[in-house]
Amino acid sequence: MSDPMDPMAEIRASFFIECEELLEALQDGLNQLEDGGEDTETINVVFRAVHSIKGGAGAFGLEALVRFAHRYETVLDEVRSNRLVPDHEALKLFFQAADHLSDLVRACRDDQPLPEETSAALLDELDKLLGDQTEEEVQPQDFTPLGVSLDLPGLSDLDDAADGSDPIPCWTIHFKPAFELYETGNEPQMLLRNLCALGEAEVSCDIGELPGLLDLKPETPHLAWTIRLTADVDEAEIRAVFEFVEGLCRLDITRDADPAAAPEAAAPAPMPDAAAEPGDPRPATPSPAPEAAPKAGSAGNSSKSVVRVDLERIERLVNLVGELVINQAMLSQSLESAGLSPHSDAMNGLEEFQRLTRDIQDSVMMIRAQPVKSLFQRMSRIVREASAAVGKEVRLITDGENTEVDKTVIERLADPLTHMIRNAVDHGLETAEARKASGKTEEGHVRLTAAHRSGRVVIEVADDGGGIDRQKVLETAVRKGLVPSDAVLSDTEIDNLLFLPGFSTAGKVSNLSGRGVGMDVVKTAIQQLGGRISIASERHRGTTFTISLPLTLAVLDGMVVDVAGETLVLPLNVVVETLSLSSEDVQMLRPGANVVRVRGGFVPIYDLGAMLGYRPVRTDFTGCIVLLISLDDGHRAALVIDGIQDQRQVVIKGLDDSFYRAPGIAAATILGDGQIALILDPADIIAGNGPIRVPDRSLKEKRADHG
């Protein structure tokens, strides 16, 4: 409510944010219902989500949304009151309605045209579930409002209302535990708690007998309690609370004549007491009650307090922290070059500064992290729609929904993941008949999981379908001229053919996944996120696609190296070791193809300087330094470099779209001395497998920049 200009616009914006949460709760609830969790609370949650969306939509005059939500809610109400038991088909309809509801919400939010035909069709379906319904509502004029007498300005008289015909008895209980009570292991707190459970209670602790610290005998009890209890109970019920400590304490119970009378409580009551001083007019300012509900005992998991922050503000913070990191690196370099001793105060202080900077950076990155749950929920919709389109029964199983990933990664993962899920449903899984014939359940399974693994996020899409038909894949690749007809390929190599541009095995282009978008597009999208994708497939058992992504797109632990006078950065997490080559280490397979012997194995050599177009190919590698790198898919490579400068954290600066997308180059960064360095993507370099073409123009420009 910070914008005094238009508070309604702000409430409206917050309504749509709240809708996203409600839609998520709706999805969750429906998933639980589908899993057979038909407890009343689940259906209540589902009902309430739709109901709340309807309520808010009504306030903003979103008629179409109200109309649809109302019908949906009415059907759910039937389920809630056990007049309708949803079968498989009904649940399917509920999911569709939920999907449609979220479409409507988003269309309303973005002022887009509403998908009215879908609304109409679904409304018809929902109507079929309803019998003849006549809603009987009470009109406001049929209800006679009941006035209250307000004795303003004080509220002290509110209590006098209790003077009515049937007053609730008020008790004063004095309770003083004896030494034996503690000795027998009884806990006064438990007793007081049980007492409070009887009704409204005010507990005050009498510390009058508490001696000074020096005279305090730890074994002697000094405390007594006075409890004012307003409860419809008799004395026996109160005594029952103290049943087990009878004789171990002093207990006086008296019933007050008038509940409104101020108690002559011995000790000053620590609890605020609205009725204690009737003469005192209450201050006009309200003591604000908490907006959310972080209080003890309030509704379960929703009580975690949350602040909504504009993403732009976070972006600014992330950028600023990025600058801070660069600044800190520059400062550190200039101090070093000023010849300061590493043990000087300034250098020590800088070290501390460095650690703090890193902590701040980590914390800021955490703000951007989001659970993948929203993404997974979108995928469950994709599965529903895709399976309906190809007429297969498919169940999506998700795991690791709470895994947190950078928000941008989540957003940019939606498209490739959608494509992979569609592929899994369309191509991965067999038809129900085929599954039955091979002894599987008719219902196919697609498993979507996320997990953190060694500083990266790993997302898997696995189906229990027929697996990759490698024979067919190879034939297709040969026919399309992607591989020579006499090529002998390993299983992994054949699987990886799926990622080649322009590859499609589907005999006929289905209306689902065959949209001219192949797995190569998926792979490119993943790579742009700094991720990698791999396949594992087993005939008749299924196929698993594994995506491995960095946790954040903003920083990178890098190794700064020199190649042909250029400064380049390699992601540190791929570097296994560094080697200095001697003449007998290197073996030439054929001109331009060399391998290095590393502990009995052979690793191909990639001459970075030549691949990036900085200089001609070397013929002699003796004395060269190579970085041995290992990729997620197990591939290893030896990258020839001229020297290693440093290991450090670099801030990733994305290359603008106006730059030519050079293969092998992931992004750029600014180093401590202000120099710009390119960040390499080793997997891309190896996948390119040969000299990478870099246009001379951009290279010259880059050199010119450096002066």
Partner: protein
């Protein structure tokens, strides 16, 4: 001093949008002493230390619904006489009848205009 300057109101609704809308409307009427909570139990707890004249509560809330809250208010010595307005998406006969029995002062059906809310409040506490 006008009534609106002294009236203290508590808004109870699980949806922050609704709380915002009601609070916004009350503010427009000149009622400044408005507290809000997202559920019945925390409303009851807040009322213990800072009582109000009028509670405006949603019906459909998780855990404790509006009528359960009303019941708890009416059985609490301190909150017995508080004014209670129920806001409901559906003025279901059974709900309204039960509300009447529990001593509900008035009800309002969603969606409503601020003027509806004003009339509804004035019917209970008098001219603002």
């Amino acid at each position: 001093m006008a009534l609106r300057d002294q009236l203290r109101v508590m808004v109870v609704d699980d949806m922050s949008t609704s709380r915002g809308l009601i609070t916004q409307a009350l503010d427009a009427f000149g009622i400044r002493a408005v507290a809000s909570t997202s559920d019945g139990p925390s409303a009851l707890k807040a009322l213990e230390s800072s009582p109000v004249h009028l509670v405006i509560s949603d019906f459909n809330m998780p855990g404790m619904d509006g009528l359960q809250l009303l019941h708890a208010l009416r059985t609490g010595a301190r909150t017995k006489g508080v004014g209670f307005i129920l806001i409901t998406g559906k003025a279901d006969k059974a709900i309204i009848e039960k509300g009447r029995q529990l001593g509900m002062n008035n009800f309002l059906k969603k969606p409503f205009d601020p003027s509806d809310l004003r009339a509804c409040i004035e019917a209970v506490v008098g001219r603002l």
